[in-house]
């Protein structure tokens, strides 16, 4: 090993393929996106340099506030449902006294392997205002509470976010379950001997020790929420109107609908920056907590 680390040629040789691939697929497009965001460009003709005009325009775009609000609401639903419920289920499945936990573990993961289109179609049928399962359940219980779930401007984003949350909860669950299992069992045993209840022991021992796992889960959930797109596209096509738009939807609309690739690049830059800032904040918050715990 030492011999390899001392050999610079070997380091370059082994790093180069991955680095090249990363540069071509990730780094170069990001650089190009930043560069193109300073131009007025329709994707084909000669681009003209407009400086920060695209960003100024973006600041005044009424769609931005709708998209940002939807992105953060989407992220909130993912955090509450996927991390909140995922943690609870992970703790249950890690408990050796719970019967059928292997079956539960598999069941929670099944939606993850389904096609997103299939899942969206399933929920579209369930949300149908006239014949959908959800409204029918209310009717069956004699309740008049039936909703036009996907058409209500104030709540449709929650209905859509829930579909993503439901489908990918199993993924977060798998990460969190692995996090729980990585904690040595004798910590828990010691707490129980000292008289702590099971949930109290989880609160004071298991959860704080899962900090790194939570950090990763939060980053995934929040960045996925801010950049959400597929569920909106399939279920409502961003509508009614632009009610369910997110930043990604804005990018698609401007690049492929309005032929404003330069402006779309500026929106992409904003998305990248927001995701980066959110990731930095999450890292900071969790690192500070770790320092406090010490």
């Amino acid at each position: 090993m030492k011999q390899y680390l001392g050999n610079k040629n070997a380091i370059v040789l082994f790093l180069a393929p991955a680095l090249l691939l990363y540069s071509v697929i990730v780094f170069y497009p990001i650089i190009q996106t930043f560069y193109r965001s300073f131009f007025e460009w329709d994707g084909l003709s000669e681009a003209s340099f407009v400086g920060l005009d695209n960003f100024v325009k973006l600041w005044g775009d009424p769609l931005l506030s709708t998209s940002l609000k939807n992105g953060f609401l989407f992220a909130l639903v993912l955090v509450v449902f996927q991390i909140g419920l995922g943690t609870f289920l992970a703790l249950i499945c890690a408990d050796v006294t719970v019967k059928g936990r292997k079956l539960l573990r598999t069941a929670y993961f099944i939606p993850v392997v389904l096609s997103v289109t299939v899942v969206c179609q399933l929920w579209l049928a369930m949300y149908d205002p006239d014949n959908g399962l959800i409204n029918k359940i209310f009717h069956a219980f004699g309740l008049s509470y039936s909703q036009n779930w996907l058409n209500l401007p104030e709540s449709s984003i929650f209905a859509i976010a829930f579909v993503n949350a439901w489908q990918y909860m199993g993924f977060q669950f798998a990460l969190l379950y692995a996090g729980v299992k990585s904690i040595p069992e004798h910590y828990q045993e010691a707490a129980l001997i000292d008289g702590a209840g099971k949930w109290r022991a989880h609160w004071y021992i298991t959860l704080p020790l899962m900090r790194e796992t939570f950090k990763f889960c939060f980053v995934i959930c929040i960045t996925a929420g801010i950049g959400a797109f597929v569920q909106m596209l399939i279920m409502t096509n961003g509508g009614p109107g632009t009610t369910n738009y997110t930043i990604t939807f804005m990018i698609i609309r401007n690049a492929f609908g309005a032929n404003q690739y330069g402006y779309a690049c500026a929106i992409s830059v904003l998305l990248v920056l927001i995701s980066l800032i959110v990731t930095i904040i999450i890292n900071k918050v969790f690192d500070e907590r770790r320092e406090e715990a010490r």
Binding site: I11, S23, V24, F27, Q32, N148, N237, P240
Partner: protein, 452 residues
């Protein structure tokens, strides 16, 4: 050691990134600016042909051309196959290689333009032409002999299908100016005791209430596709303003005609004209509602007629768009909401066989129109066809042919701003949902008109 590794990694990444950026720059320069390109001169078609003029083959040589055309269902495959069979008879030395276009808002064609792989001939529309003309990807056909012939053959009122709003010819059209109509189930109307025709918005509101009371959806609309809501709004607007959305090209704020039409849709929505789930309903679902007798009316283009006839026989007919009052209904009955935006077969600005490609493009457009008229019985084609229709025309098409087409007073005009078009798409869809007010519509549209 750690620092050296870090430095090596960073240096390598920087070299790769900068070398790739350099590649990108070269590519950009090759394209050249619109003003520098020879094809951007007053007669771009001539300029574009100059480098390849000497490469034109003699008539006996086999010429291979690529053609980008839609080819995925009977509507698109059969006219293509017909035109190809005719081409073999007329120009046996021409071989066409099909590069199928996708239903992807022209993304494939735009990519082909960007990479220089655009087929020699391409079936295009106005939105693509606007991008392509700026980047010199299409020939301007103004001075071609085929264009002069095409102009002579055009059906009355179809000039805007050939001549773009900027006054140039970029493609040879085969379709005529298509428009949207309201289909209705004759039996359901009869059973409900509704007198026809429905001439006013107030009458349509009453009809909506009657059907809602009977548990029937008054109008099935596939508004998950935003263009149909846009067409609905234009249908009502054209009753007040025959130019339709064309008036928005110079407007800086919403005209009264559009405001009135939006208000009318709002009132109809409140009267229950649309299903609760209208904005999440796709074409298959909406048409099934109509054809299965769960909806009394259906909105789509006149191209739906063969399908409607196949599903319902003589049990279906179409009606004119209602207006604010009977006088307006009568006076604007034949102002069609369809807009004559240019479309059809265009020729790549980079083709090596310019003369032949132009001839083939015009030929294909003529044969497509011929097929649609003679084999489908569709009278809405761009040019006059001197052959008789070989199929029995559905009654609804016959009505269109005899009652409407000879009496058309005007067609709506093309809206040139894609941005305003998107705003209409969004806001017309909003009108189908309760809670969206006319004030919001006006505010949103004024903003879009200001920013266009």
């Amino acid at each position: 050691m750690k620092n050296k590794l870090r430095f090596t990694g960073l240096a390598l990444a920087a070299i790769v990134a900068f070398s790739l950026t350099a590649c990108g720059s070269d590519k950009k320069n090759e394209g050249g600016s619109a003003s520098e390109s020879p094809a951007a001169s007053a007669s771009p078609s001539a300029s574009a042909s100059e480098p390849s003029a000497s490469a034109e083959p003699t008539p006996a040589e086999t010429v291979k051309l690529k053609i980008g055309a839609r080819y995925f269902d009977d509507d698109t495959k059969l006219p293509y196959d017909y035109a190809i069979a005719e081409l073999k008879k007329e120009m046996p030395n021409v071989e066409l290689e099909l590069v199928p276009s996708q239903q992807d808002d022209n993304q494939k064609l735009k990519t082909q333009m960007a990479t220089g792989d655009l087929p020699d001939i391409v079936d295009t529309d106005w939105s693509l032409m606007q991008v392509a003309k700026k980047s010199n990807n299409l020939l301007v056909l103004d001075n071609e002999a085929e264009t002069a012939t095409f102009k002579e053959q055009l059906n009355k009122g179809n000039e805007s299908k050939l001549i773009a709003p900027d006054g140039h010819v970029y493609a040879y059209p085969y379709a005529g100016i298509e428009f949207q109509i309201l289909y209705y189930n004759k039996k359901m109307f009869e059973d409900a005791g509704i007198a026809l025709p429905i001439k006013t918005i107030d009458q349509l509101k009453e009809v909506s209430k009657k059907f809602v009371d009977k548990g029937i959806i008054p109008l099935a609309i596939f508004s998950k596709e935003k263009w149909i809501g846009n067409a609905l709004l234009k249908g009502f607007m054209t009753r007040e303003e025959p130019k339709g959305y064309g008036v928005l090209n110079d407007a800086t704020e919403i005209p009264e005609s559009l405001k009135l039409a939006a208000g009318q849709i709002g009132e109809l929505q409140a009267a229950g004209l649309f299903a609760k789930n209208a904005t999440n309903t796709n074409y298959d679902q909406a048409s099934a509602l109509f054809y299965q007798g769960k909806a009394a009316m259906f909105i789509n283009g006149q191209w739906e007629i063969p399908n409607a006839h196949k599903n319902m026989g003589d049990g279906v007919d179409w009606m004119y768009w209602p207006a604010k009052d009977e006088a307006t209904y009568e006076s604007t009955k034949f102002a069609m909401n369809g807009q004559g935006d240019p479309s059809g077969f265009a020729v790549s600005g980079h083709t090596k066989n310019k003369e032949i490609a132009i001839k083939v493009a015009a030929f294909m457009a003529r044969k497509y129109a011929e097929y649609k008229f003679t084999m489908v019985g569709n009278p809405i084609v761009s040019i006059k066809i001197d052959k008789p229709a070989q199929v029995q025309m559905p009654k609804m098409l016959e009505r269109l042919s005899t009652e409407v087409i000879p009496n058309i007073t005007s067609f709506a005009e093309v809206l040139s701003s894609p941005k305003v078009g998107l705003a209409i798409d969004d806001n017309s869809q909003n009108l189908l949902v309760s809670g969206f007010t006319l004030d919001q519509f006006v505010k949103n549209m004024n903003q879009a008109l200001k920013d266009k």
